[in-house]
């Protein structure tokens, strides 16, 4: 056993020095990618979603022909400004911790008379398929732009969800042994050319969390945090994360709490 270990260590050292030789090359690539992102920042198509979301918020929809304007997103009925910064949170009326998407489902059911199945159907848009959820999320998040994240873990259920979210973050499984932490648990890493935020570190977590939802240029869609988590688990080779499931909300709360104090700048524009 022992000699083998030493050989492996020597190997690792050699590999590291080879990597340094090319560090300069890598920097110029990163600079170019930075320029690319800057060029896109002015003129974010997410604005189209925000506008559609605002109309949907005010539109009388569903069997009860009611708007969502009386929906309590955590700061009182009808308060949209700043609501994204306090979510997920515990709601006494449902007795549950809810994130923005699950709270919207709650309101669509309670105020507009949709069934939960109807409210949760088609949570993510796609080519030629526009869905209300993406637009509502874009609009509500945009109303927190410039405001700091401040989620609570004071309530025992919030505390519990937070702890659970943290455990899920490190849960390794599937054929590839991946956990969220495999890609998002260390400083200064990237996958292909994409920088990976270390989501256990507040500075990185703030930068990452406050830029979702985001317009993904690769897909031409605004993607929500629920989508982000769903697609991360797909790439982790897990089964499909169910929309607004307990695990998704717990994980969101863990990430949001780690990003405490981060100033919202969403919807952002990303690769």
């Amino acid at each position: 056993m022992r000699p083998k270990r030493i050989a492996a260590a020597a190997l690792a050292a050699g590999i590291l020095s080879a990597g340094l030789a090319l560090a300069q090359d890598k920097d110029s690539t990163s600079r170019q990618i930075e320029r690319y992102r800057e060029a896109l920042a002015d003129g974010n198509p997410a604005e189209l979603w925000e506008a559609r979301g605002e109309s949907l918020w005010k539109e009388k929809r569903g069997p009860k022909a009611a708007s969502l304007e009386r929906c309590d997103l955590g700061l009182g009925p009808g308060v949209v400004k700043g609501a994204y910064t306090v979510l997920p949170k515990y709601f006494a009326d449902t007795g549950k911790v809810e994130d923005l998407e699950s709270r919207l489902v709650t309101c669509m059911v309670a105020l507009q008379g949709f069934t939960p199945e109807q409210a949760k159907k088609d949570p993510f848009g796609g080519p030629g398929k526009k869905v209300p959820m993406d637009a509502l999320v874009a609009y509500i998040a945009s109303e927190s732009r410039g405001m700091p994240m401040h989620v609570s873990i004071a309530n025992p259920k919030e505390r519990e969800a937070y702890e659970l979210g943290r455990q899920i973050f490190f849960y390794r499984g599937g054929p590839h042994d991946f956990a969220c932490a495999s890609c998002h648990g260390a400083e200064g890493k990237r996958i292909r050319l994409q920088d990976l935020p270390n989501l256990t570190n507040p500075a990185d977590a703030r930068r990452a969390y406050t830029t979702w939802p985001a317009y993904r240029v690769s897909q031409g869609e605004v993607r929500s945090m629920q989508w982000r988590l769903n697609d991360c688990f797909r790439q982790q080779r897990f089964p499909e994360l169910e929309f607004t499931s307990p695990a998704s909300i717990a994980l969101s709360l863990y990430l949001a709490r780690t990003a405490e104090g981060g100033v919202m700048d969403a919807p952002a524009i990303k690769r």
């Binding site: 690539t29 170019q32 990618i33 320029r35 690319y36 992102r37 060029a39 896109l40 292909r192 050319l193 994409q194 240029v217 690769s218 897909q219 031409g220 690769r271």
Partner: protein, 157 residues
């Protein structure tokens, strides 16, 4: 890239119909021009000379009076930002061509007098390619070009 029947009908009879409409005073010339779409120009593949021909010119000269800015590396080919400025007197139009796209012409902007010869827009690139900014000024064609690396395919993904 076959056109649907409806489209083909439109382009076949388009010229005649518009002539009539103009004569009848139904359309002002500016409106009619706006609705023209040069189908042939959007079907040229990988040749600048052919493209210039399809646009009604003959040959293009490289010019330092055109500047094109874009990142050298695009993180995603689905959206690649370009800004083109022409300092050529009497600039009439600015076009963006991607050599290795299935059809090279992405967009052609007509710049009337009073409008700055400056355009900022975003196009798709299927792969790493030379990108050409083609400017028509005082009836002649000029161009500048640069290579843009695409790290992930933006077409068909």
């Amino acid at each position: 890239m076959k056109m649907g029947r409806r489209r083909a009908l439109q382009s076949a009879s388009g010229v005649a119909v518009m002539g009539l409409a103009m004569a009848a005073g139904l359309l002002r010339p500016s409106t009619a021009r706006a609705e023209a779409w040069n189908k042939a120009a959007f079907e040229v593949k990988g040749s600048l000379n052919e493209e210039v021909k399809a646009l009604g010119g003959s040959g293009a000269t490289e010019s330092k009076d055109i500047s094109m800015t874009s990142p050298d590396i695009a993180e995603n080919g689905a959206v690649v930002p370009f800004t083109v400025t022409s300092k050529l007197p009497k600039t009439e139009s600015i076009a963006l061509l991607v050599e290795k796209n299935p059809n090279m012409l992405a967009a052609n902007f007509t710049i009337p007098e009073g409008t700055e010869p400056w355009i900022n827009t975003r196009i798709k690139m299927g792969q790493t390619s030379n990108v050409i900014a083609l400017v028509k000024a005082d009836g002649k064609y000029y161009y500048t070009s640069k290579e843009v690396k695409v790290t992930l395919g933006g077409c068909g993904g």
